[in-house]
């Protein structure tokens, strides 16, 4: 729960390297997170935060290094196994663009369950519950384009949490919101995750958003660093 939390990391990236061109986007970065813990990934734009998140989440395969999730190395799984893991164990919230514009908000939240083979009635019942928890029941029948930014992000959080993920990856989840809406989204994201003991990897360059975390890791030039302050 706090930086004093003990126990095995649920997810750990170790010495990760990834290049897209001549300069490495990740140059030996690492990070670990325990169940129920929120870790903020901070650092300037272009420092490698998103690349680190994508490697940890099995979206990108690092050139070298290991990503251990519950003891198994994600980098050794097949693409199929990795996407299965993402669907069943992980949840995602991005800055924007993650909702399917043609579907209603309710259908969007139900979608991950439907993809996992849950019947429509049951999926929509659970989706409704999550819309309720995130206080956006009113937009259930609307398309994402017909909602405000704050409502849309709450729908996105509902969608990320509906499958009961063990790890939620949030990349600048409040980046497009004003202070009040950003705060609301963070409150709901963190409190919901704490209730289900999910871990959150929270990429943000905003200190006020990072203040919702239990620990922070700073990424600079593809390298990560964690400061341990004396009490």
């Amino acid at each position: 729960m706090t930086s004093d939390a003990v126990g095995q990391p649920l997810l750990a990236g170790i010495n990760l390297r990834k290049s897209f061109g001549p300069t490495p986007a990740l140059d030996g970065a690492g990070l670990h997170v325990r169940a129920g813990e929120v870790v903020a990934v901070m650092g300037p734009s272009g420092s490698g935060k998103s690349t680190l998140l994508h490697c940890l989440a099995g979206i990108l395969k690092p050139d070298s290094g290991r990503v251990l999730y519950q003891g198994s190395d994600l980098t050794e799984l097949s693409d199929g196994q990795r996407s299965e893991l993402r669907r069943t164990e992980f949840g995602f919230v991005f800055q924007f663009g993650q909702l399917v514009p043609e579907l209603t908000c309710l259908e969007n939240v139900a979608l991950p369950l439907r993809l996992g083979g849950v019947r429509r009635r049951e999926a929509e019942r659970r989706a409704t519950e999550w819309l309720d928890r995130l206080e956006v029941t009113g937009v259930a029948g609307k398309r994402p384009g017909e909602t405000s930014g704050g409502q849309g992000q709450r729908v996105a959080v509902a969608r990320a949490l509906v499958t009961g993920p063990k790890v939620v990856f949030a990349d600048e989840p409040t980046g497009a919101l004003d202070s009040l809406n950003g705060e609301r989204v963070m409150d709901l994201l963190v409190s919901s995750a704490k209730q289900t003991n999910a871990a959150i990897v929270l990429v943000t360059h905003e200190a006020r958003v990072a203040a919702y975390s239990d620990r922070e890791v700073v990424v600079r030039d593809g390298k990560s660093r964690e400061v341990e302050l004396a009490r």
Binding site: M42, P44, D187, H205, E206, A207, R208, A210, A211, Y212, S213, D214, E216, V218, R220, R225, V227, L229
Partner: protein, 173 residues
């Protein structure tokens, strides 16, 4: 703003006379608020008494400025400790933080570390405020928000300064 530490930091590069020290300080840190000679000599005599500087040469002639001051080993340790200890997060730290970053650069220390340590100290307070906000009433929330925005402003400024470290390092050398 710790004038003593800043003067010590300046002496770390080379021994200087009081006048020279004042000029270096004003040029780098005192554009808006230059030091008085009185402050310089009072600070130097305190540093001398505490064994953080020593007189490395005395020239012939009168006046207080015939002495040249050099930092001692204890003085170097003192600067290092000051640089690596984060400031208590509170508003209007920019002078101190700026001095720390510049002096870290001038002395070849890791200026990023100064920033990261300070960020950690700021974030620790911001976490407490964020938690207090979650359980507090509206008044609590408003008070905490005010503090949070100020601390955030400090951090943004530090971040921007860090982004300009390369430029700053060039200017200093």
């Amino acid at each position: 703003m710790s004038i003593g530490h800043t003067l010590l930091g300046l002496l770390e590069g080379e021994p200087r006379h009081g006048y020279d020290l004042k000029r270096a300080y004003d040029e780098r840190f005192g554009k808006d608020r230059p030091l008085h000679y009185g402050q310089v000599y009072a600070t130097l005599s305190r540093l001398l008494k505490n064994g953080l500087v020593e007189v490395s040469g005395v020239e012939a002639g009168g006046g207080p400025d015939r002495k040249r001051y050099a930092i001692t080993a204890a003085g170097v340790t003192d600067v290092a400790t000051w640089l690596s200890t984060p400031e208590k997060p509170e508003p209007y730290l920019q002078n101190t933080l700026y001095s720390k970053v510049v002096l870290a650069l001038m002395s070849g220390r890791d200026a990023h570390e100064v920033l990261d340590t300070q960020r950690a100290a700021h974030l620790r307070v911001m976490r407490e405020l964020t938690r207090r906000k979650a359980t507090g009433d509206l008044t609590d929330q408003l008070i905490c928000d005010h503090a949070l925005f100020h601390l955030e402003a400090d951090l943004r400024w530090l971040e921007l300064t860090t982004a300009r470290l390369g430029q700053l390092a060039k200017e200093i050398s």
